[in-house]
Each structure stands twice: as structure tokens, then as C-alpha cells.
Amino acid sequence: MDQAESRRGGRLEKYLVAKTSFLKLVDEQIKEGKEVVAPVRQENQANFRRIKSTAEILWGGPQTVVSAKSFVFPPKEELLNYETNDEVRVQPRVEAKPLILLGVHSCDINGMALLDKVFTEKNLDENYVKKRENLTVIGVECLEPCSPESFCYRKDSVLPWDGFDLFLTDLGKNFFVEVGSAKGESFLSGLGKKATQADVDRVKKIRRERDAKFDEKQRKLKPKLSDLPVLLKENYNSPVWAERGARCFGCGSCNMVCPTCYCFDVRDCVELDLKHGIRARWWDGCMLTDFTRIATGEIFREDRGARLRHRTYRKDYYLFEKWGKSFCTGCGRCGKACLTKVVDPLDIANEIYERSRSR
């Protein structure tokens, strides 16, 4: 939180808003036809869905199956459509409409903050950026771990670093609301009153308690977070990769659910007349066999262990080193999704750490 504050070169406004009036505000927006998406229960888990009333919202756990990234980087997204009669007509497609994303946990907000970096770096990706600009992100603070798999506290991701418009902390009757942007400020439309120092202190205390609770309940990360890149770098040839790789399906579930996996495939689809078609991108995953297969049949990262290492390295070494932030926000989704329990980044880090110490 403090980072975001300093990045914006000033203090963020903080308000105290009665929960009922905040929810009423959202319900009114829905009635006006605004699209609001929030976590709702789905069987014994949850998912982001378009809601018709704030009553549907599932606050807190369990975790949504798929992260909030789908709203900025959907599973399938058209990039172009074209017509090839006598003339070739190519229309770029950038679909974006205003969307309020409510009840987002910090791990997903941070995930988007990280995606912001990669999609705006050098070649700006309009398809992502336009969707992102149209999004109003209203986060909510987790006061309980949302799943046994999550380890956000260990990844310094229990609060958002950046990337939200409003961030809510449940104070019982009120929300403590932190404003992250002008868009957030105007969404509030003057609701509530400025938070006093006492309010701020109260939140600080809640956060201290929460930290203690998370520290106790979430699985420990044995190496220091900042040591992860070096630890991984030194263990490129660790037997861990082959051992875990042997039990990996190569199913890519870990890639699909992750808030920071952003690889994609691009394919053309053409109508039967062979004249009209689209080009679209689909989520792809570095754990899938075909990910590096080229026309001559060569696969550059053939064995599953090497792919698992690559995935782990992207999160906690390559991108960590490049951007100064781990690209794993500790949401725990991949560890849950992986049916053979091989992918959990925290488990991997701990195992490598233990093994390298005992050597």
C-alpha cells in the first residue's frame, strides 16, 4: 500500500463509508445498467460473475477458481477480423467496455499490477490496455486466509501494491476505503467522511493482528523472499525438477488459473467461404507440450521437469529479477489446481531450500 502511495507522489485519500450506503451505491449503479462483476459462490468454490445485486457477492473465501485476469486478458480474444475479396480489408479488434470489478483480493490486484508492466512495456498491447482502462477495480482486504493453499502473506501480497481504484477494509458497520485513483474517487461520489487518524490507527492495528494470524496460519516460506531468484538460479540442475516433472500431467491447469500467467497462442479462424475470418488469441501455457513445438517438429522444452522449472523460474527468478517483484502473488490457485501436487511454488522453494542446505 505504501508503495502505491509513494508512486503517486502523495497520500491517498482515505474514507470511512457505511457499508449499507456503499452497497446501495453499487446496486444503484447496477440498476442504471452498469456491468458489475464480483466473486459469487460456485458449488464449493467461487468464480467471478456478472451480478444483479450486491447480495450475491461472496466476500472472503473460498478463492475463485480462475483469477480476475480474465477481464483484462480473456481466455479467447479476437485481435482482428478480415475480408479477402479483391481487396484485403483488415480491421483490428479492440473490445473494451466499462466494467466494475468488485471484491477483488489483493493477490489478483497485484497480479493485474504485474500484467500492467508486461503489457505496456515497449510494445504496448492495446487489447489489454483498453480493457484495463475501462475497469474500475474495487478490492477488498482479506482478513482471513481464503484457502489452505494460499500463501500471499509470504509473497508480500496481502495488500495491493498498486493497481486498484478503491480498496475496502471491513470494519464491521463501515468500510475503510482507500482511494487509488481519480476514477475511484469519483466512483465514491462523495460518500462517507474522511478517515480520522483514529480510524487509520484502528486499521493499522487490524492489519497487525491480521499479519500475525496469517503468519501463523499460512504455510511458511523457508528461504527469504528476496533470496528466491538466487536460490532458484543455483538449483537449475536440482533433482526436484525431474522428480516433480515425472508426476506432472502437463495439463496447464496451473497456467490457466494463475493471475500472472499471460502466454498466449494466436490462430486464424476462417468461414467456409474462405473469405471472412478472424484472428484471435487464446490462453496458452508453458506447461503444455506444444508450447515450443516448431514446424519441423522440434520441441525446445520437451520434458515436463524442464517446463516446470521454466514456469517456476518465470515467477520467482526471471521476472522477479527484471521487475523487482515476484510474479507469484501467492494466491495458491495453481497448488490447488494441480491434481498431482507438483506445482505449488512455495512447496518447490522450500524443497529446494531444504535440499540445498542438506547438501
Binding site: V65, A246, V257, L272, R304
Partner: protein, 248 residues
């Protein structure tokens, strides 16, 4: 460019795949526009013997079938196995695990000898198959994509990733994570169906066949974790992937 001539043939199956073609809706008319259908017994009395592309549905299950499919192979420039029965022998292969004499008796009593029947086999057990459109029944979108890519001189796209990929894209709660877990073959089964069964609350029963590098050891590990008995495993592997169960 002349329209390619297309023929549909069926062997032992439920004909659901041909019916899926007849149920393409408005796209059916587009299909008739872009190809010339010369043989489609299910839908037409015209029996053309001159064709470029043969879509073959069903399993080979009698000695007559063997002759017929060889004849079709000879005439067709491109032979496509349509649906699970043609691709993996589909549910028909279940009977291969029964005593053949006994099951004939069970169904036809003392007249069992009258009927010519052999083990159910996929088309490629007899002749070379150029392309496969898997699934029971085939997926409309995939069929249309296949035809347009073939017309466009492309190698048709058939995903090599497993069902889990699309299952996750749909945001489903994994079958293994439900309060009453459902044993699901998604992690080793070829995707492309849009995870239609898990999305409708059921197990993936493996009707699209295994992915090329399916990790069956991992599957064993997983099913053992869930305490699935060997008998249950085999039964399940053998819904559509008779051969898979035989490997062990």
C-alpha cells in the same frame, strides 16, 4: 476452383456424428455451398462413387466392413475418421473385453452363428486415415473449422492439450475438488470439446482419446490418491479408450 466432392459413410455406430452434420443449422447451407455432397446415405439417395474427401463414421465390426472400408480408401483422396467410433472404436470397444461367443449368445440365443461379427476396431486398424475428428459425437464448431481449414489447404488444427485447459478457461470447479469428487479423465484426454462434460457437471469420460504424451503414471497416482479400485479404473479407462486399460 471446382468444389471438392465429399462423401459420408457409416459403419457400426449410432450415426450421431452424421446427424450432427445435418444439425449444423444455417451452416449446413454454407456447407452445401462450399462442397459438393455426392454420397450421404443418411440424407440422400444419390450414391456417387467419385469423391475427394470421405468422412467415415463408425467402427469396423464385421468382415464385410473390412472390404467396404478398403474400397472407400481406394477411391478417396482424403479419408477422415469422423467421431469416436471411427477414431478409437468408441464405446463399441467395450464388447472386446467380453467373451465374444457369450455375448452373441446373450443377445441372439441359438441363432448367434448367423451374424458376421468381429472385434470392434477403429478405422485406422484397417486402412490409413488422413485426419481425425474425435469426440462422441463430433463437435459442430470443430467440424466446420476442419472443413474450412481443409478447403484452405491447411493441416487442420487438432489440439494436443488436455481437456483441463478448456475446463479451466470455463472456470469450472474441478471434478476432483467437489464435495463428492468425480473421477475425471480430463488430464489425459485430448481437449477441443470445450470441456463440455465437466461444464455440464459430469466426468470427462475420455471420448476424444488420449493426448499424444498422456502421463498415465500420473493418472495412476491420482486415482490411487482417491482410492479408486483397479476394477473401477479399468471400467473407466475402457469407456472410450479400450486400449488404454490394456496397457497396464
Amino acid at each position: 476452383m471446382a468444389k471438392p466432392k465429399v462423401a459420408f459413410f457409416d459403419f457400426t455406430c449410432c450415426e450421431g456424428c452424421q446427424l450432427t452434420v445435418l444439425s449444423l443449422g444455417d451452416k449446413l447451407l454454407d456447407l452445401f455451398e462450399s462442397v459438393e455432397v455426392v454420397n450421404f446415405r443418411e440424407a440422400s439417395s444419390y450414391k456417387g462413387q467419385d469423391y475427394d474427401i470421405a468422412f467415415v463414421e463408425g467402427s469396423i465390426a464385421s468382415s464385410k466392413d473390412i472390404e467396404r472400408i478398403k474400397e472407400i480408401r481406394k477411391r478417396a483422396k482424403v479419408l477422415v475418421a469422423l467421431g469416436a467410433c471411427a477414431h478409437t472404436a468408441g464405446v463399441n470397444a467395450i464388447r472386446n473385453f467380453h467373451n465374444q461367443q457369450e455375448i452373441r449368445k446373450m443377445v441372439y440365443g441359438d441363432k448367434a452363428w448367423v451374424f458376421d461379427s468381429i472385434l470392434a476396431q477403429p478405422i485406422d486398424a484397417i486402412v490409413r486415415v488422413d485426419y481425425y475428428i474425435p469426440e462422441c459425437p463430433i463437435d459442430k464448431e470443430e467440424f466446420l473449422r476442419f472443413v474450412s481449414q481443409l478447403l484452405n489447404n491447411m493441416k487442420p488444427f487438432l489440439p494436443d492439450y488436455p481437456v483441463c485447459v478448456e475446463c479451466k478457461m470455463k472456470g469450472n470447479v474441478c471434478n476432483y475438488h467437489k464435495p463428492n469428487p468425480i473421477i475425471c479423465l480430463g488430464p489425459v484426454t485430448r481437449g477441443g470439446c470445450g470441456a463440455i462434460c465437466p461444464s455440464a457437471g459430469n466426468a470427462c469420460e475420455g471420448c476424444r482419446g488420449l493426448i499424444p504424451d498422456a502421463n498415465l503414471e500420473a493418472m495412476e497416482w491420482l486415482l490411487n490418491e482417491y482410492g479408486v479400485s483397479a476394477e473401477d479404473k479399468f471400467r473407466f479407462y475402457r469407456m472410450y479408450n479400450g486400449l488404454m486399460g490394456m496397457k497396464k
